[in-house]
């Protein structure tokens, strides 16, 4: 009986279909019903628009692997985006703007990690609290207004290309490479698996789960900072609701991608496919002129369908 259970257990590669089937189906359906969906311009648009979500979903994967959650990511992204806008406006420097965003994002991430690891507040509640704080700070620093007139050096990030590839895509690919290396090839990555899988094992090995946990959340905040630069560039302004609800899409992408919310089992490539599924869905619904309210609902449906597919496949 035990042997049979071993054989039927899925390895990460066997999961590719779960989210890949969903992605292919979505592309096929919108290719058929949405005019212009399969055009190169539109597909490249989907990719570029998916970059911000990618940069949130990658660290979200690590956080969820620790049996955690970061609800504050969208709000922190809003705040860092505003910081990028305000600082670059004041200093005329894209890099100083990025630096400000990174700093604020990492600070929020560290606070999240500290609340979860040291104070032992459940991640859902802790990051709901910082979500509120980040949202409030966004309104304060922006005075509720858009921050406009930002330097070209910021705006151009979104439209520039490197060797013919749009810079946002280059940044997303670089992020994926960095996270892949971090999770699968470093000691820190090994310990992330242990944070969710068996925290006691880390203690036996003489490691501090708390410090590792704080680092994971801090990375999430820092990534929200970098994504904030892209958001500001994309909107050519800072806006106090820019990142509203992005944490929902990020968590959805991670779930669709097959990362488990228990026992430290994560899959980064699945997360990227999950991000693309969400991106294709939103883009396709846009093309057939369905309102954004329907988009939110359909992302919810997407999560359930993908997890259902994984469920029946692992039982089969």
């Amino acid at each position: 009986m035990r042997e049979a259970a071993v054989v039927s257990q899925s390895n990460p590669l066997q999961r590719i279909p779960g989210v890949a089937i969903v992605l292919v189906l979505l592309i096929a359906v919108f290719g058929a019903i949405a005019p212009g969906f399969l055009s190169v311009a539109n597909l490249s648009n989907v990719l570029v628009q998916s970059t911000i979500l990618t940069m949130l979903a990658l660290p979200m994967t690590l956080i969820i692997m620790t049996e955690g959650l970061d609800l504050s990511m969208g709000a922190v992204l809003t705040l860092t985006s505003l910081c990028v806008a305000i600082v670059s406006l004041a200093t005329k420097s894209m890099l100083l703007g990025l630096g400000a965003g990174l700093l604020v994002g990492a600070a929020f991430g560290t606070v999240n990690g500290w609340l979860v690891a040291i104070l032992g507040i459940p991640p859902f509640v802790a990051t709901l609290g910082t979500l509120g704080m980040a949202q409030g700070l966004s309104l304060i620093v922006s005075d509720g207004q858009s921050v406009v007139g930002i330097p070209h050096s910021v705006r151009d990030i979104y439209s520039a290309t490197l060797l013919g590839v749009p810079v946002p895509i280059v940044m997303a690919l670089a992020s994926y490479a960095a996270f892949h290396g971090l999770l699968y090839h470093t000691r820190f990555g090994t310990y992330i698996f242990a944070l969710g899988g068996n925290r006691e094992a880390l203690r036996y090995a003489g490691l501090s789960p708390n410090r590792l946990l704080i680092a994971v959340y801090a990375i999430g905040g820092a990534m929200a900072g970098i994504a904030g630069l892209l958001m500001t560039a994309r909107m050519n302004s800072g806006h106090p609701t820019a990142g509203l609800g992005l944490e929902f899409d990020a968590i959805a992408a991670v779930a669709v991608g097959g990362t488990s919310f228990e026992r430290g089992n994560g899959w980064l490539l699945g997360t990227v496919l999950g991000v693309l599924s969400v991106g294709v869905l939103r883009n396709g619904l846009n093309l057939i002129s369905l309102p954004s309210s329907v988009q939110v609902a359909s992302v919810g449906v997407l999560v359930i369908v993908a997890l259902f597919l994984d469920g029946i496949r692992s039982r089969a």
């Binding site: 071993v6 390895n11 000691r187 880390l202 994560g266």
Partner: protein, 508 residues
């Protein structure tokens, strides 16, 4: 027996590790009382004792999880201190726990070297080739042939245990402490483990082996230490004792517990009849009869299938063959049905399975009786209140009121709430799984008085317990299980601890 006498018994003059006069006290309990214990290089030292004899405490002392109140440790003749896990590790002591310290979604190599990964060229990275090669070498030394890149989650229990042992060996462990290592293994896997133990012995590794299985004690042990009530009773060689003698050492005769019980002279009609019951959970050909007015014990070692029998009767696990006749009618299927017909299962882990800890006493008391109390489907607050107030009075549950959160009550009162919940539902057969676990002695006799009253009023109880004393004092008769089968039946006049242990352990 003095430590000098222990040394004289063996061929090797200096013990690898010696504990002298170790004591450990917790409020109200002497977990270890002046225990001396020596492990020699390359020997398998069996640690024997009933539940609560002090085996686990001794294990925790060895691995540095407990600080001792008194006593000395000597390593190769020199006095040392074991105050932390790091101290124990430095001395080469490793514990193979029943719950493994492995990370499920890392591979074997990463698990073996967790926290000690070989550094790669780029800072922070792992030298993948080296970690795999090192792991393969460690696995080779214990004769476990498997790809070290296999994810641990895909391994069976026995293989995970092997990885755990490999991890210990890779840390240069010279003393392995194993806590019932064969409990979850099949016969074939057990053979492989024994082969490994022989191999480790040959390499000079010492093994402290906790077991309940007599066959293992005699097959593997070079020496046996028997603990009882936190004290070392004796240290013997397997050749010098019989299983019966060991059982007597474990059980002792210092029993002075009395529980209120009015034994029924004539039990009532048959309430539950189980015929030839088998289930995929590992129980087979179970035959049990419980009459009204009786408390019937179901004993045996942990893992012998007692809880599985209870779950099968209750319908919580599917039955593969056999019959369950309750109150004259055959029943099968789901817990919902069993509960409606009048069977109550009071599980061992009342906190996770028996109670909604964050809800009130009142809510918990009526939750199983909702259908009966409110046939219309509408919740009637006053009716619920009356019912729960009545039960609180009847069962003498010590609570400020029905609104109190159940999690804040003492263990004994929580148990009463679980019982009350089934009473409200009109249950006739109460199946108790370890009803006194985590309950202090005063509350225990109250719980037993309550069970006694229930059966006196025409109900019946099937009681699973590891506390043989309690079975002997409370039950009208008892079935003893061993490895998924009923090993024997003990009538009231045969019901002694010794008989229970003998039936539960022999030929294991």
């Amino acid at each position: 027996m003095s430590s000098a006498a222990i040394i004289a018994e063996t061929s090797s003059p200096v013990p690898l590790l010696e504990l002298r006069g170790i004591s450990k006290e917790f409020p109200g309990v002497k977990a270890l009382d002046d225990v001396s214990f020596a492990v020699f290089p390359g020997e398998v030292h069996m640690l024997l004792g009933e539940n609560g004899a002090g085996k686990s405490s001794l294990m925790k002392v060895l691995c540095g999880a407990y600080r001792t109140d008194a006593g000395e440790f000597h390593y190769k003749g020199e006095q040392v201190a074991i105050n932390s896990a790091a101290d124990a590790q430095k001395l080469g002591i490793a514990v193979i726990f029943q719950e493994f310290s492995l990370v499920p979604h890392l591979d074997i190599a990463q698990n073996i070297f967790l926290g000690r990964e070989p550094k790669g060229r780029i800072p922070g990275t792992i030298d993948r080739r080296k970690i795999l090669a090192d792991a393969a070498r460690v696995l080779g030394t214990i004769g476990f042939e498997i790809d070290p890149a296999t994810i641990v989650d895909k391994l069976g229990v026995a293989q995970q245990q092997m990885v755990e042992i490999a991890k210990a060996i890779s840390q240069n462990a010279r003393i392995l402490v194993m806590d019932e290592p064969t409990a979850a293994l099949s016969d074939r896997e057990t053979e492989l483990l024994f082969a490994l133990i022989a191999r480790l012995k040959a390499d000079g590794v010492s093994i402290v082996y906790i077991s309940h299985r007599m066959a293992e004690v005699f097959a593997l042990g070079d020496r046996i230490t028997v603990l009882r009530d936190g004290r070392r009773i004796d240290g013997v060689r397997p050749a010098d004792v019989t299983p019966d003698q060991l059982v007597r050492m474990m059980v002792g005769r210092n029993v002075d517990m009395t529980y209120p019980r009015n034994f029924a002279d004539k039990p009532g009609e048959v309430l539950l009849e189980v015929k030839g019951l088998s289930a995929s959970t590992g129980i087979s050909d179970i035959n049990i009869e419980v009459r009204r007015g009786e408390i019937v014990g179901l004993c045996g070692l942990v893992g012998s299938g007692r809880s599985e029998v209870a779950r099968a009767i209750f319908g919580a696990d599917p039955v593969s063959s056999g019959e369950i006749i309750f109150d004259g009618k055959a029943i099968s299927g789901e817990p919902d049905l069993a509960a409606r017909r009048g069977i109550a299962l009071i599980p061992e882990s009342r906190k996770s399975e028996g109670l909604a800890l964050l809800r009130s006493v009142g809510d918990n008391l009526v939750v199983s009786a909702l259908r009966k109390l409110f046939p219309s489907g509408l919740f009637d607050q006053r009716r619920a209140q009356r019912t729960s107030d009545g039960l609180i009075r009847q069962l003498r549950i010590a609570t400020p009121g029905a609104r109190q959160t159940v999690g804040l009550l003492s263990g004994g009162n929580q148990q009463k709430v679980v019982i009350g919940k089934w009473l409200a539902a009109g249950s006739k057969l109460f199946i108790f799984d370890e009803p006194t676990r985590g309950i202090d002695i005063g509350a225990k006799s109250e719980i037993f008085a309550l069970i006694d009253r229930l059966v006196a009023e025409g109900a019946a109880a099937l009681m699973i317990s590891s506390e043989q004393v309690e079975i002997c004092h409370v039950c009208d008769r008892a079935y003893v299980m061993r490895e998924g089968r009923i090993a024997g039946h003990l009538a009231r006049n045969e019901l002694t601890e010794e008989n229970i242990v003998r039936l539960g352990m022999h030929h294991a």
